[in-house]
């Protein structure tokens, strides 16, 4: 009985160490557009913002360029790949690194279809009445 408990205890401790190590190496902090731009060079971060309308450039090789804004600062984002529901003017999170004045996105997360609140906030009843 005691032997089993020791084995399980050791296994759980080993697991804890592996978990902590993996957690640390795969952690990707959230930062703002202003922070990224002011730093000039940042590795492996996530930036939350809105895709600036009329800023999108579609380049060959499935490459997409657009500006991301946090309301104060904008930055240029470049992404290779297909985004199934890309639109301008919607909130997005870009994941990647910033260097040479451009954010190189490894991932672009757009508003997930099962998340609704953002849309309601952007288009509240008042706005609908106005226009």
């Amino acid at each position: 009985m005691k032997k089993v408990s020791i084995i399980v205890g050791v296994a759980v401790i080993v697991f804890g160490i592996v978990l902590a190590t993996s957690f640390k190496s795969e952690l990707c902090p959230y930062v703002t557009v202003s922070y990224v731009v002011s730093k000039g060079r940042v590795n492996n971060v996530q930036v939350n913002g809105t895709i600036v309308p009329r800023s999108t450039k579609i380049l060959p090789n499935n490459t997409l360029m657009f500006n991301l804004s946090d309301g104060r600062t904008q930055m240029r984002v470049i992404y290779h790949g297909i985004l199934s529901h890309y639109q301008e003017g919607i909130p997005a999170v870009v994941v990647g690194s910033y260097y040479g004045g451009i954010f190189h996105a490894r991932e672009v997360l757009l508003k997930c279809p099962s998340k609704y609140k953002v849309m309601e906030e952007n288009y509240s009843t008042k706005k609908v009445v106005k226009g």
Binding site: Y30, P60, S114, T125
Partner: protein, 609 residues
């Protein structure tokens, strides 16, 4: 102001649940008959159903004056998706939760003894929590002060059969997990057994939760266009968490049923599973783009947290006051192995919980790799363990011999696989696959009956799922920068893709551009694929959807998505070769069928006795 009939029914449902909760308490005191509790529960169900039907009616009548109807439907929406739009948002989903729970309360408390009375009170309090949300911050019957001529429209991505059925399946699973929780607490309080009463509810809830998760994964695969089916997104994770703890519980009750203990572990698992479904309901329906602002933005968050805290605290107090019922009996080899599997399920849960909650706690989140680094080894250990565990009902020496036989088979197949493919990890995977399969065959060959068919199906499913996940995650080939004009062809890997042309289809509230891409291998036509871009006639921002096309072959899928078309007629594509993904679907379906068969077998057994 006139009160909306739907809202009125919600109030009546609240009153019925309240009276049921109070009367079941009085029943225990001996001052009322059980019949009154039954009637109150029936009324609660009827009023919840009526409220739901009123909301459904507004959708069918396209009453865009109702804010919820305005946001989730439009005049072009086909009937089937107009119905599914009822649960496309937070308010309707919570109403569905309440409706399911009212059914579970009605069915599970039939017996009418003191344990069901106590459980009834607890479940009614949970129902009242949802009533409260529906009457206040998540009221689906809020009206606009004018009537728009057209609705905002259901998100185009949700217009698929999978997404129409995914929420009803998931929420059935969530609501069902309330039953084991309530009975575990109530029965422990009276020092009685809770497992025989709730086992079938647990199996049903687990099955539907699994079905919901599978539908979500299948939808992601054929809709989102990145060639994968599981992105470790907070919403996906949150539904997997209670599924994992419920899986652990299903194994734990095997030991407790034989009167050998593990009572404390099972009790804890029932409580944690309930906590996790409440957490999942919050994460799924709180409407947050990145979970980081969840608490600041959503007042309801605190209500959910409070429910989780109170139910855990209450369960803990009951457990501490009834410490004496948790005595352990000496466990045998099989019980020990089951304990290890429960440990693995639990570690898996902790990992996903840490990853999912990170954005809520600090300003950061973890990447997909965090999950893969931990979950792949854990899953592998679980599958190996399965191969041993299913034989462990035998004498120790026979188990040992059986394991040796399985190991020989596994090593042999692994070596053959390596000789043929020179892929180390794939060969290791095949070896483990064969090892566990051999264990399964040895373990069940001589004792097949209906009750075990469920277990066999679920375990076989897990082994297939393992090899499918292994293949599709480690050996997927992706070609993301493919550009072709009409008549041009491109070589990708062993394949040649040729763009034959485009077609445009207009109608039914949408406009589609369909590409015709022929796929050749070794000079032979494999098939013609039709990736699409669909533009919906909606006011919404997200009205353009890329629709993928898939050719499923037995050992791999060919998967293509179209990114866009330039004015000069050059289209861009992503092409993926996803190995063994069909094993993922077949494995998952077997796991779900296994749950269903076990529940049916249990139901038969109960009727016979």
């Amino acid at each position: 102001m006139k009160m909306d009939p739907g809202y009125l029914f919600l109030i009546l449902s609240t009153l019925s649940f309240s009276s049921s909760a109070i009367m079941s308490y009085l029943y225990v005191k001996g001052s009322v008959e059980w019949g009154y509790v039954k009637k109150a529960n029936l009324l609660a169900f009827c009023f919840s159903l009526l409220s739901f039907l009123v909301l459904l009616y507004y959708f069918l009548a396209r009453d865009f004056n109702v804010k919820y109807v305005f946001f989730y439907s439009d005049t072009h929406l086909p009937l089937i998706y107009t119905i599914s739009a009822v649960w496309a948002g937070r308010e309707g989903s919570l109403l569905l939760w309440l409706l399911y729970l009212s059914v579970f309360i009605l069915l599970s408390t039939k017996k009418g003894d003191r344990v069901s009375a106590f459980a009834n009170t607890l479940m009614c309090i949970v129902a009242l929590f949802f009533n409260f949300l529906l009457l206040t911050s998540s009221n689906p019957f809020v009206r606009l002060n004018f009537t728009p001529p057209e609705g905002w429209g259901l998100n185009p991505l949700l217009r698929t059969p999978e997404m129409a059925l995914h929420p009803p399946a998931i929420f059935l699973g969530y609501a069902g997990m309330t039953v084991p929780f309530a009975f575990a607490v109530a029965a422990t309080y009276y020092r009685e057994e809770w497992i025989p009463r709730t086992k079938n509810y647990l199996l049903i809830a687990w099955t539907f939760l699994g079905l919901g998760i599978l539908l979500g994964a299948w939808w992601a695969y054929k809709t989102l266009g990145w060639g994968g089916y599981w992105g470790w997104d907070p919403v996906e994770n949150s539904s997997l968490l209670p599924w994992l703890t419920a899986s652990a519980l299903i194994h734990g009750i095997l030991v407790e049923e034989k009167k050998r203990g593990m009572k404390a572990v099972n009790y804890a698992l029932a409580v944690v599973t309930f906590d996790l479904v409440i957490l999942a309901t919050f994460i799924t329906r709180s409407g947050i783009i990145s979970s980081v602002h969840a608490f600041a933005r959503n007042k309801e968050a605190y209500a959910y947290l409070l429910l989780i805290a109170l139910s855990t605290l209450f369960a803990l107090v009951v457990a501490l006051r009834r410490r004496d019922v948790f005595g352990e009996v000496e466990l045998n080899l099989r019980d020990r192995l089951i304990q290890v599997s429960i440990l693995i399920f639990s570690l898996s849960t902790v990992t996903i919980l840490v990853g999912t909650l990170t954005p809520l706690l600090i300003r950061a989140s973890v990447t997909r790799m965090f999950y893969r680094h931990i979950e792949i080894p854990l899953g592998t250990i679980l599958v190996i363990l399965l191969g041993v565990c299913v034989m462990a009902y035998r004498k120790d020496r026979e188990v040992y011999r059986g394991v040796i036989k399985s190991a020989i088979a596994g090593i042999a197949f692994g070596i053959i696989c390596y000789a043929l493919t020179h892929l180390l990890l794939a060969s290791l995977g095949v070896g483990i696959f064969v090892f566990s399969l051999a264990g399964l065959v040895q373990g069940y060959a001589k004792r097949v009956n209906l009750r075990r068919v469920g277990a066999i199906a679920a375990h076989l499913g897990l082994i297939l799922l393992f090899i499918g996940v292994m293949g599709s995650w480690m050996y997927e080939s992706s070609y993301t920068h493919i550009n072709m004009g009409v008549g041009q062809s491109v070589k990708v890997g062993d394949y040649i893709l040729k763009l034959n042309g485009f077609n445009e289809v207009n109608g039914n509230g949408k406009f589609s551009v369909i590409a015709y891409v022929s796929v050749y291998k070794d000079g032979k036509l494999v098939g013609v694929m039709h990736p699409k871009l669909v533009i919906y006639n909606l006011m919404r921002n997200d009205r353009i959807v890329a629709s993928v096309d898939i050719i499923s072959l037995p050992l791999y899928d060919l998967y293509i998505a179209m990114g866009g078309v330039t004015e000069t007629g050059i289209a861009s594509f992503e092409f993926y070769i996803v190995p063994l993904v069909s094993f993922v679907w077949i494995g998952s379906i077997l796991i779900i069928l296994g749950g269903l068969i076990s529940a049916m077998a249990g139901y038969d057994a109960r009727r016979e006795s």
